[in-house]
Symmetry: C2
Subunit: 448 residues, 2 copies
């Protein structure tokens, strides 16, 4: 049932260690990443390295915005016994089992269930083992997943609580339908990449001049969509949307992101006030937990499209967002839900309901991770990139060994083996909190 | 706006410290607390003491079932700067502000938002400050809350994301309506207590003989309701329900608890198969996140009543459970949502929607905490104990300084100042993990 995919050689050895790092970038100094709910984020990674005795490791992380990153690091550290000591071959051969071992451990589940710090920690560890598996098989993760059989892929999925919306057989049918033309789409992806959209112009903390300049540059760089943060002040939002539209011209999509700022009635009122500005989507108009509220908002502001997902904790909540017709755009996150496995479930749910997935990225290394999931989706699940785009923010990529490559407003498919998750050792050292040079010599060092 | 309640004297001094303890009881050795999802829990408390320079402290905790209790302890420890150094008088005078300081801190919020480990940690700390405030005012918490004005009470509530279901004015109206007969209900409560129901008979790990004996004893002790764990095996459930009904006789309510075991269709089928056994309610038939699934189950099995709440993470999810008519019984937990403040919001929501609240208890010290919330609700919010009962499990009370008092199947109203949260110092020492004598001398020590 859980046979190894493809034709990889038997890997001998064991997982020997799990090592964590509290890595924080002082991004709040430049108000990069500022929005209506998060005025001063220090983009951070609770980073984990899975060590083996086979001369190869796996890297993973969960993204936070500063304070509390140490709690996530502690949660990740607690997971060491769930991987260390296990045979490498058996572990990477049955990633479904590894996911269940952690997610269904009842005392850990009590801390969620399947949400918050513990679930993010499981994501970091599981993703690190996926990185390891992809390295062992010599493939970038998207290609590894896209090469697995439909049966192997559904074995990754935990169908518990999903069966009223998606059965194992329905999932198999979706994957089998996509299987016929996988090769063609893979060639196309390798040749021309996957669409991206640009969030960098639109942070709330940026001046109008900076907004206009960055919006123009995004179009010049080939992006077909930009996104602006909104929700702090309606007049500011109107002015900034006018400036952005003037800067980008008519053919470019302009989305807005309220970062959970509004209650239901306020969201409806505010979005209606912004409707004249030709919004491509409105992201996180209210609490990500409020399925019924998002559905009410969507009904009231149609045809404006509703997007949400970066803070949605698990597949059960995504299932309901789809069942309630609460969203037009599903924004999965690589390390908020339980890692690759739960994201395979979420991609299958989205395909079943015909809702496009536009992953959440930015932060630290999220672009590096989610590109693999979107590309896997294109090749082997939904089979389409229509109305889909991966968020792109041009921060902090230089800290990664295999950073994203954007060309003409598109993510180029990664070719290096792994999940693109590995951070440069020098960056880990420099930004380790609170002992790294970026923090001890904060006043002397250049702004991040 | 946030005036101090009543006529308490000005308190000088500061909060000086936050000290944490990882306290675990080896309950898995006796299979106490075993259910369909949690076979071997070690009941644990992530325990916190708020120190002051005024010669008085506050105690709080969150409940877990063993592994991972240290993560919650780490999260609580991180909150020290949110309380330590603050003036005692200003802090206890504005508990709404203290709650907002922690819940709306954006980097901490990122770790939820408002769910999982971080939210439980905030609950532990906020509840500890409530314990402190009640001690300073010389009242048990229920009485302190029940003596606050409607205006003071709504100032505790975070109405963000609630306004489509409950406005501040509606909340005020509910509280004002109850205000007229507060004194009468308080007298009655002090005289005769609050109804309890007994879960102790029904753990899955207990033999049929033990089940029958404990069920009979519960009735002899005056309980009007017992609860059985179900969901592992249908034939076992049928047999155990027959045994329980035979033991308790006809006039006693028998509820069952599936601990999230089923998917939606399976829940409907299983509950229908148990319907002949005259179930008072079915608790947690599926994922606590699945508002729409719970609503489907409820529609399909009516008139069997659906209960849920111990794992519901916040007021936004409770709001939807009520809006979707997904539950007949709301089971709040004292330290899963954001502490007393969020529970005041949840009690107001339940009153608005006319759904009875039957708090989740058991575990470590949860009975001690939730009795205050239910009694406050009776006196000052819903004004009723009809079809309401607080869960009661007869474990681990001996470790508390002011343990619950059950008489004739009812919780007697606590009279000592505080939130009944203080654990005996000797118990903390003995059960501190992994260094306490209960763990280092595990083989020699008596079973817990």
């Amino acid at each position: 049932m859980n046979s190894r995919s493809g034709d990889e050689a038997l890997v001998t050895g064991r997982i020997t260690s799990l090592t964590t790092y509290d890595v924080r970038f002082p991004t709040s100094r430049g108000r990069h990443g500022s929005d209506a709910m998060n005025p001063e984020p220090d983009y951070s990674a609770a980073y984990v390295v899975i060590g083996t005795d086979a001369g190869i490791g796996g890297h993973g992380f969960a993204f936070t915005i500063g304070r509390g990153n140490d709690i996530l690091v502690a949660a990740i550290q607690t997971l060491e016994p769930y991987v260390a000591g296990y045979s490498l071959d058996e572990t990477v051969a049955d990633m479904g089992e590894l996911s269940r071992r952690m997610v269904h451990d009842s005392p850990l589940r009590w801390l969620g269930p399947e949400k918050g710090v513990m679930h993010m920690a499981i994501a970091a560890v599981l993703n690190a083992v996926w990185d390891l598996k992809a390295r062992l098989e010599g493939k970038p993760l998207w290609q590894l997943l896209a090469g697995m059989s439909p049966e192997e892929l559904v074995d990754l999925v935990d169908f518990r609580y999903l069966s009223d919306a998606l059965s194992r057989d329905e999932a198999l049918a979706i994957l089998r339908a996509a299987q016929r033309s996988r090769a063609e789409r893979e060639r196309e992806l390798l040749a021309s990449g996957y669409p991206a959209y640009a969030t960098s112009p639109g942070w709330l903390g940026y001046s109008d001049t900076r907004l206009a300049g960055l919006a123009r540059r995004a179009v010049a760089d080939g992006f077909g969509q930009i996104k602006l943060k909104v929700g702090a002040n309606l007049e500011d939002d109107r002015r900034r949307l006018r400036i952005a539209r003037q800067a980008v011209g008519p053919g470019i999509r302009v989305a807005v992101d309220a970062n959970q700022r509004w209650d239901v009635a306020e969201a409806i009122e505010w979005v209606r006030a912004l409707t004249p500005y030709d919004l491509w989507w409105v992201e996180e108009p209210t609490s990500p937990d409020d399925v019924l509220g998002l559905a009410s908002i969507r009904r009231a502001v149609t045809p404006v499209r509703i997007a949400t997902g970066e803070h949605v904790p698990n597949r059960v909540m995504f299932k309901q967002l789809l069942q309630a017709q609460a969203i037009d755009v599903l924004q999965l996150d690589a390390a908020r839900v339980g890692g690759v496995n739960e994201n395979v479930a979420i991609l299958l749910l989205a395909a079943k309901f015909g809702v496009p997935v536009c992953p959440h990225a930015g932060g630290v290394g999220l672009c590096e991770l989610v590109q693999h999931l979107a590309m896997f989706d294109l090749v082997a699940v939904s089979g389409s990139a229509r109305d889909r785009a991966i968020e792109y923010v041009d921060h902090l990529h230089e800290h990664f060994v295999d950073p994203v490559v954007i060309r003409g407003g598109r993510y180029m498919a990664p070719r290096a083996p792994g999940f693109s998750a590995e951070m440069r050792p020098a960056s880990i050292r420099r930004y380790t909190y609170p002992t790294g040079a970026a923090w001890t010599g904060a006043r002397r060092s250049r702004a991040c």
